[in-house]
Amino acid sequence: MEVETMKQLATALAIGLGAIGPGIAIGLIGGRALEALGRNPEAEGSIRTLMILGAAFAESIAIFALVIALIIKFT
């Protein structure tokens, strides 16, 4: 295979595989946050803040994969 083809494939695989884990994680975080909200509706404000923080941490793993993909693509 050519180098250029391999580069394209590597870019797609890096972000494609890297998005699986964070996708599952964000789903779990959102689901558990809703569960907690159903059990304790008064705590909506703090649950939302913690959920967004948690989702941002899970998302950052996808962002690492994205950085790798962009480095492969543009260098």
Binding site: I52, L53, S60, F64, V67, L70
Partner: protein, 277 residues
């Protein structure tokens, strides 16, 4: 004679090939994307990149906002701008207070500075004109176009510096708050083989924090800029319908990342200043 004709033919085909590649390059000329800040000019051997220019402007803006806030806070009749800034400062203060409790006043200068500096830097990359104003610059004898501005935190150097400040400040606060013995005891603990191994893991964790801090912020902001510049090439027809929500999502992401950075610093400081865990 024959050789000359052949030469002509060869040069002609060469020219054709060149023209073709140039046309192809024009067709496939996507957005201008560079993973690092590019040098705009050079002063006394110091390479001034476009992200340095934007960061300097943001710092000047930050100084003016802080001066305005300070002047207004000493008056009796205050402007509307004061209350807008005060709401943000108070919200951040309350959030950090829930993590650090009574010691908030020692750490708030650092954490608040982190938050507002990162916030303004993240949003500086979203101002129209940042990244699109191009400048011709000659580098190594080759002329190319370089954006005049680039979001400050879309450069790994900025975020790495912020991460180093965060991690080193955490260490210094830990040393000052709980003393040398118990602070170093977290890393060097030979009471049992397991705690000795845990100490090594703690040391590794400190270094991995630098990496994760810097890459998280840089990746989020840089990926946002790439996203915003690539979307017009994917959907040129529905540009405003697609890129406007994306723009507001990037505004949101910039705020969340500033919050995450300063919040994580607050959590790590509160872990470092607690005696035992």
């Amino acid at each position: 004679m024959a050789a000359e004709v052949l030469k002509d033919v060869v040069t002609e085909t060469n020219q054709e090939v060149h023209a073709e590649t140039a046309a192809q390059a024009e067709v496939h000329a996507g957005p201008h994307i560079s993973i690092k800040g590019e040098e705009v000019f050079e002063v006394a051997g110091i390479h001034v990149t476009n992200s340095v220019i934007t960061t300097s402007l943001v710092v000047i803006l930050f100084i003016f906002i802080a001066k305005y806030y300070y002047d207004q806070s000493r008056k009796t009749d205050r402007g509307l701008g004061f209350y807008a800034i005060n709401t943000a400062v108070k919200g951040i203060y309350d959030l950090f207070e829930s993590v650090l409790h009574k010691k908030i006043n020692i750490f708030f200068p650092l954490l608040g500075a982190f938050f507002f500096f990162i916030l303004l830097n993240n949003w500086s990359g979203l101002i129209p004109g940042v990244g699109t104003l191009l400048l011709k610059s000659v580098h190594d004898g080759v002329e190319h176009t370089v954006p005049l501005f680039r979001g400050g935190t879309a450069d790994l150097n900025t975020t790495l510096a912020l991460a180093l400040v965060s991690v080193i400040a955490t260490q210094i606060y830990g040393l000052r708050m709980i003393g040398l013995k118990s602070h170093v005891g977290k890393y060097l603990n030979f009471s049992s083989p397991i705690s000795a191994f845990m100490g090594i893991l703690e040391v590794v964790q400190e270094f991995s924090r630098i990496l994760s801090f810097s890459f998280r912020l840089y990746g989020n902001i840089f990926a946002g800029e790439v996203l915003l510049s690539i979307i017009p090439f994917l959907l040129p027809m529905l540009l405003s319908f697609v890129s406007t929500p994306m723009y507001f999502m990037e505004v949101f992401v910039g705020g969340v990342q500033a919050l995450v950075f300063s919040m994580l610093t607050a959590v790590f400081i509160s872990m470092a200043i607690s005696e035992h865990h």
